[in-house]
Amino acid sequence: MSENQNKRIRLLLVDDEKGFVDIISKRMSKRSIDVTKAYSGTDALQALRKADFDVVVLDLKMEGMDGIEILKLFKKIVPDLAVIMLTGHGSEEAARDGINFGAFDYLTKPCDLEELVAKIKEAYRQQK
């Protein structure tokens, strides 16, 4: 338990909103989470091939991309990957679809950071 808490979580954050990704990664690093930033699905796939991650946070609504398709690709590469989805309000249906395709959970945007961190930690623990 303590080992878990001390060990930094490797997180891949995928969102096309650069400002959001940047500030979240800064705040996460203060909460013992190492964030790898990806501004698009392709970035994310490359990152996923290069390194191992404990948890992925994936924005479902990015310009020119279908979040669910990216989720399926992730799951193909790393089947037991814990993915937390971020959705806009009102697109919970897509998020529920995502859970059917193996996502861990979803949060609606804009979400509280502490909530997100709690969810990431939960996912990390579950995966272990």
Partner: protein, 565 residues
């Protein structure tokens, strides 16, 4: 608005007129044509029939009279040839012969006389004392002495009574003498007197000078009128029956049928007023015209009612179509507003999220660095908290917009009316607040969900809420929304305490284009669309209003599953 209404009512009026005219023309033309042809043919054949009948009548009488005259002449001829002058000038012998004739033929022969060449009556048998009368200057004598047989015109003669005579001339001892017989006028007159048809038909006989030879039933002046036309007829046509239709002195159209008697000396005329002669025809024509007029009236009435009813149906259909178009436009508007709102909400979400996170980052940094001594630390923390709070408020607003936009979907789905109203109230609250209007809700919590098009019921409720807010906007007020269950219906009541609706407007409030808002402000379609939507859902909408205390709109929606709807 007014103009449009005026134009359309003109359009419907002209449509009614056109239909009316078409129906009338199409049904009248054949009716009139057929009836006129039939009437014309009937008229023609009836005329022919009447004329033929009259001609036959006149011809028959002409022959009768001619035969009568011939017979009488024959009797006298026999007398003149059988006995010599000497025998006949003996008055007792003559008297015997008269009695014999009267016994044989009745009182047709009034008297007998023998006149010598000088015009003196040498013998006489009869009721008058005409013993030695002198006829040398009499018209008849002058003619009679010149021909073997002679029948005179009617004249008064010495006795002063109308009569006519038949004469036979013979020779005795190279002296000419004449046997004459007077024919009873009454007996002769009866031949024509009895020719009576209808009320105005009668006959008489004229001589070549146009003098009556019989006593006419009606008083007429023979010198005038069409008799002269007949009298002009030439020798060749004397045997035929002639017919003329002409107006008499009183201006009435008369039918004259004439035939010559006595080798063209006399003219038998039958005269009848045309309207009397054709009375049956005129009666039939009258009945036909009455039937035609009644038929025409029936056709016009039917055409009028039919075209009125059809145009009414057309106008109702047009109105429904227009309403549906407007509803589609309204729904479309709402959907595009929804899409726009969703877009904006989504776009705003990201910068707001970044702002909130950045402020959170400042908070993180403040905790880390030793800012504990800073005298403005409390203010920093307060400001950051405020940014966070306001960020969340933005999030809530965008959430409301997004859930509104999501419900512009017009497909039927499971709807929880309470939730829907809650969201609509949240959307309207800001506007209500500006109008000093408080919105209270009183929901039945265990309300059944119903299956219907969310966007449509949302449109109805939003419309009613907006109307209530409009009504109370100037003075402020209270808007009360309640939900409840009644048997198989979900009941929604929207009550305001605004100025109320006058009774005269209340009955028209769901009519399309009815509005009390100033021109340009309201289309008058809102409530009629609401009415249409609720009807389509199988529900009911009604309104109660009391002037000065407010208005309540009540909607009843049937609870039914997806299959039933």
């Amino acid at each position: 608005m007014k103009n449009v209404k005026h134009d359309s009512s003109g359009y419907y009026r002209s449509l009614t007129r056109k239909m009316l005219l078409t129906i009338i023309i199409v049904s009248f033309t054949p009716m009139i044509m057929v009836s006129s042809i039939i009437l014309y043919q009937f008229n023609l054949s009836y005329h022919e029939k009447v004329e033929a009948h009259l001609e036959e009548l006149v011809l028959k009488h002409k022959q009768n009279i001619d035969n009568f005259l011939k017979e009488k002449l024959g009797d006298i001829r026999f007398l003149g040839e059988a006995f010599c002058c000497e025998e006949l000038t003996e008055e007792s012998f003559l008297q015997d012969k008269l009695v014999m004739l009267q016994q044989e033929f009745g009182p047709v022969f009034v008297d007998l006389g023998v006149v010598n060449a000088q015009g003196f009556q040498v013998a006489y048998a009869g009721p008058f004392k005409l013993g030695k009368a002198r006829y040398s200057d009499a018209q008849w004598f002058k003619k009679a002495i010149k021909s073997k047989y002679f029948i005179s015109d009617v004249f008064l003669g010495l006795r002063g009574l109308p009569h006519f005579i038949v004469t036979v001339r013979d020779n005795w001892k190279s002296e000419q003498w004449i046997l004459r017989a007077t024919i009873d006028f009454v007996a002769f007159n009866n031949f024509v007197k009895n020719i009576r048809i209808g009320e105005t038909g009668f006959a008489y006989i004229l001589n070549r000078e146009g003098n009556f030879q019989t006593k006419p039933y009606f008083n007429i002046t023979p010198k005038k009128g069409p008799y002269r036309d007949f009298l002009k007829i030439k020798e060749g046509d004397l045997k035929k029956v002639h017919m003329i239709e002409k107006k008499d002195e009183s201006g009435k159209k008369n039918l004259y049928v004439a035939a010559f008697l006595k080798n063209g000396d006399w003219l038998l005329v039958y005269q009848q007023v045309a309207s009397d002669a054709f009375a049956d025809l005129n009666k039939t024509v009258g009945v036909a015209i009455v039937i035609l007029l009644l038929g025409a009236f029936g056709i016009i009435l039917t055409a009028f009612l039919l075209s009125k009813r059809m145009v009414h149906h057309i106008s109702v259909a047009d109105q429904e179509k227009e309403m549906m178009n407007k509803q589609i436009i309204e729904t479309g508007k709402l959907a595009s507003v929804g899409k726009l709102a969703a877009g904006i909400a989504h776009e705003i979400n990201n910068p707001v999220a970044i702002m909130v996170e950045e402020s959170g980052w400042i908070g993180d940094l403040l905790e880390e660095e030793e800012f504990g001594e800073s005298e403005n630390l409390d203010e920093f923390e307060r400001a950051l908290k405020q940014i966070k709070t306001q960020g969340h408020r933005c999030k809530e607003i965008t959430h409301k917009l997004l859930s509104f936009a999501r419900k512009t979907d017009s497909r039927a789905q499971e709807v929880q009316i309470n939730d829907l109203i809650r969201e609509l109230v949240e959307l309207s609250e800001q506007r209500a607040k500006y109008g000093k209007i408080a919105i209270h809700t009183n929901f039945q919590e265990d309300l059944t969900t119903i299956y219907l098009a969310q966007s449509e019921i949302q449109q109805v409720l939003l419309n009613l809420i907006n109307n209530a807010v409009d009504a109370m906007e100037n003075k402020g007020g209270l808007l009360n929304i309640t939900t409840g269950l009644e048997e198989n219906f979900v009941v929604i009541k929207i009550t305001d305490n605004g100025p109320g609706i006058p009774e005269s407007n209340l009955s028209r409030i769901f009519e399309p284009f009815f509005t009390t808002k100033p021109i340009g402000k309201g289309t008058g379609l809102g409530l009629s669309i609401c009415y249409g939507i609720i009807q389509k859902m199988g529900g009911e909408i009604d309104v109660e209003s009391v002037i000065g205390s407010g208005t309540t709109f009540r909607i009843r929606l049937p609870i039914k599953g997806p299959l039933e709807s």
